[in-house]
């Protein structure tokens, strides 16, 4: 059953004629994801990788009955693409775009909360339900079906951990990259709630990093609500305060958001924290 996406998901690709959009649409189709079409304003009527292109998201939804969209649109135009997806009533929106201004995202976030859509991202690798659906840019071969739920703020670090799990025979129910921006649509707690309720997930891996307090909120939720075991890793113990570590959100500000305080809170909530991400599979033992 998995969470967020499975073989019944009907996906459209916003920005399907662009370089990134076209490249990853092909990879998603190859993986077996049910891609039903794409959107690029002004390119309606064309076909990309055997899928119809529409001018508008609403047009695509009317024609294909899509229930999920993935956005590969430049940061300047990403907010508009997000509003269009929300207004078309699409239940699941995944946004890969990195570099969206935070002021734009605060408005989108506020609008989103008044809608029925769920946003994953932005600045995230998307999600992958092994053997069923890949919505995003995670390489498909690193994962294998199983019962470990993975939720992470990172991209390549997630691949490392998922790959390590796969090599040790620990398959995954769904891998979710929530993104490293300060304002994101879906947080750790949202995904943990879904994993807790998902009958196909037995264990959970949480991968966090410095900045913000999402991991602290996750620790609170795990302590009070979760029955399934959680293991994790927090990146950035050696990062100095006041310096942005790549991700817009990965910055220790005003003494808050350090790796040490997050690790401490998660440990107190019963989460097994690895000092070395390659040891995560051992902690799921």
């Amino acid at each position: 059953m998995a969470i967020l996406a499975d073989k019944n998901t009907r996906l459209i690709v916003q920005g399907i004629t662009g370089r990134e959009g076209s490249f990853h649409a092909e990879k998603m189709i190859e993986y077996g994801t049910n891609v039903v079409g794409g959107v690029t304003p002004g390119k309606g009527g064309e076909w990309v990788h055997g899928k119809p292109v529409f001018d508008t998201v609403k047009g695509a939804v009317d024609a294909t009955d899509a229930n999920a969209t993935i956005i590969y649109v430049n940061p300047q135009f990403a907010a508009d693409a997000l509003y269009e997806a929300i207004d078309a009533g699409i239940p699941l929106i995944v946004c890969i775009t990195e570099g969206i201004p935070v002021a734009d995202m605060m408005k989108v976030y506020s609008y989103l909360r008044r809608s029925k859509s769920r946003l994953v991202g932005p600045n995230c690798p998307g999600l992958l339900t092994p053997g069923q659906a890949k919505i995003g840019i995670m390489p498909g071969y690193i994962a294998t079906p199983g019962s470990v739920g993975v939720v992470s703020k990172s991209g390549t670090l997630t691949y490392e951990v998922v790959f390590a799990l796969t090599q040790r025979g620990l398959g995954q129910s769904t891998c979710v990259g929530i993104g490293g921006d300060p304002i994101i649509g879906t947080n750790f707690v949202d995904v943990l709630e879904m994993f807790e309720q998902d009958p196909t997930t037995d264990k959970v891996v949480l991968i966090g990093e410095i900045g913000g307090r999402a991991e602290i909120d996750a620790a609170e939720y795990i302590k009070t609500h979760m029955t399934k075991p959680v293991a994790g890793f927090i990146a950035g113990a050696t990062a100095p305060p006041g310096k942005r570590m790549g991700h817009a959100g990965a910055i220790v500000e005003g003494g808050e958001g350090t790796a040490a305080e997050k690790i401490d809170a998660l440990r107190k909530a019963g989460v097994r924290i690895a000092a070395n991400p390659e040891e995560i599979p051992d902690l799921l033992g």
């Binding site: 570099g99 201004p101 605060m106 691949y159 490392e160 913000g212 050696t238 570590m245 000092a275 070395n276």
Partner: protein, 385 residues
């Protein structure tokens, strides 16, 4: 991107915040002229992007233009927390009876801007948050509605601002919000906002941080970046579209992805202990062609503390064999004598290992896992390889 005090205040002033009528100078002679024009006592304030300028002796009061010039001679060129003072702001000295704090930041958890006021102005807000959190009053702002006047009045009332100043305070709060919005700031603060001896509100000091992701629509602000305030290598990295932060350790790290880059840093410390750690954060991004790898290597090598180099790439869409070839090519271009440990995981990792191993270079090592790579890089940094 952080703006200097003088840049922030000028911008606040444009939006209607009352600011002192000072100007910025780069030579003692200029300071003298500005002080003479202003007449009366002035404050000479070093413009460097760090806190604690006052304590470091970078802010001084002068009674005359001559004294201002003398002070400028010591302040210009002095070092404050490793930064050289190249500019000073000369402001007329103000007599005030009360200092308050007014600022706006992004509340990540709420996904909204939050305006904060405190009756304890003149000290860092983080300090107040620690010692007297109740002194800070907050109002969350709906991004579609903007700051409402009543919210500004709530702040004024919350910090016990005398009623005679409310009207002026609301106007300043609205101006600050407009400035924050127009500049795509992630932080805009007036600290202190003072009540002067003649009952006026005045922004004596200001600070702004602009959202780097929004600079594409603010070419005027992007030009204000003070590249003096950052290590040369960080400026070069930005030009090469590489994310780089210089640190104090000995192991130069080159990684793809921010989370994995931080993890790689952490691993060098995990195995390096007290003496050995990461020399930098470096995220090379996706792709990692030879050209970009070469640029990254040059940046890493510009740090004289670097004793060994650790390359950790997880090839997802990127193919490991291409990265491996890129590394060999880049090594030739750049010319490296330092020991280098390469670890490539993911797509085509097997071919990548063959390429690296078949190169038979004495100071180039291939590692299978991140653990092994970090351990090798640590022993290399200790001179054991």
């Amino acid at each position: 991107m952080n703006l200097h005090e003088y840049q922030s205040k000028q911008r606040f002033g444009k939006f209607g915040v009352p600011i002192p009528l000072g100007r910025v100078a780069t030579s003692p002679q200029e300071v003298y002229e500005i002080a003479r024009e202003l007449g009366g006592p002035v404050v000479v304030k070093s413009q460097v992007l760090v806190g604690g300028r006052g304590k470091a002796g970078g802010i001084k009061l002068a009674q005359s233009a001559e004294e201002a010039q003398q002070l400028a001679e010591t302040i210009l060129g002095m070092q404050i927390k490793g930064l050289t003072v190249r500019k000073v702001l000369v402001d007329p000295a103000s007599k005030f009876v009360k200092e308050i704090y007014l600022g706006i930041v992004n509340d990540r958890a709420a996904g909204k801007p939050v305006m904060m006021a405190s009756s304890e102005g003149g000290v860092e807000i983080e300090e107040v948050a620690r010692t007297n959190p109740k002194a800070i009053i907050r109002e969350q702002i709906d991004p579609f509605l903007g700051l409402r006047d009543y919210q500004a009045r709530n702040l004024a009332s919350g910090i016990n601002l005398p009623r005679e100043h409310w009207r002026a305070f609301v106007k300043i709060a609205q101006s600050l919000y407009a400035c924050y919005l127009d500049s795509d700031a992630v932080l805009a603060e007036i600290n202190p906002l003072v009540i002067t001896a003649d009952h006026q509100l005045l922004a004596l000091d200001g600070k702004m941080t602009i959202d780097d992701n929004a600079l594409f629509r603010h070419p005027d602000l992007a030009e204000m970046r003070d590249t003096d305030a950052e290590p040369e290598a960080e400026t070069q990295a930005r030009a090469a579209d590489i994310s780089y932060v210089k640190l104090d350790g000995q192991i130069g790290c080159m990684v793809n992805g921010a989370g994995l880059a931080m993890t790689t840093m952490d691993m060098t410390k995990l195995f390096g202990g007290e003496e050995i750690g990461p020399a930098n954060f470096l995220d090379i991004g996706g792709g990692a062609q030879a050209e970009k790898v070469a640029a990254a290597l040059r940046i890493i090598l510009s740090d004289p503390n670097v004793k060994s180099i650790l390359v950790n790439i997880f090839g997802g869409i990127t193919r490991g064999d291409e990265v491996a070839r890129g590394i060999l090519q880049a090594r030739e271009q750049v010319g490296i004598n330092l020991p280098m440990v390469v670890r490539l995981n993911g797509t085509n990792a097997e071919q990548a290992r063959e390429i690296i191993q078949n190169a038979h270079l004495p100071n180039l090592h291939y590692a299978e896992t991140l653990t092994e790579a970090a351990q090798l890089a640590v022993s290399a940094a200790k001179g054991a390889m």
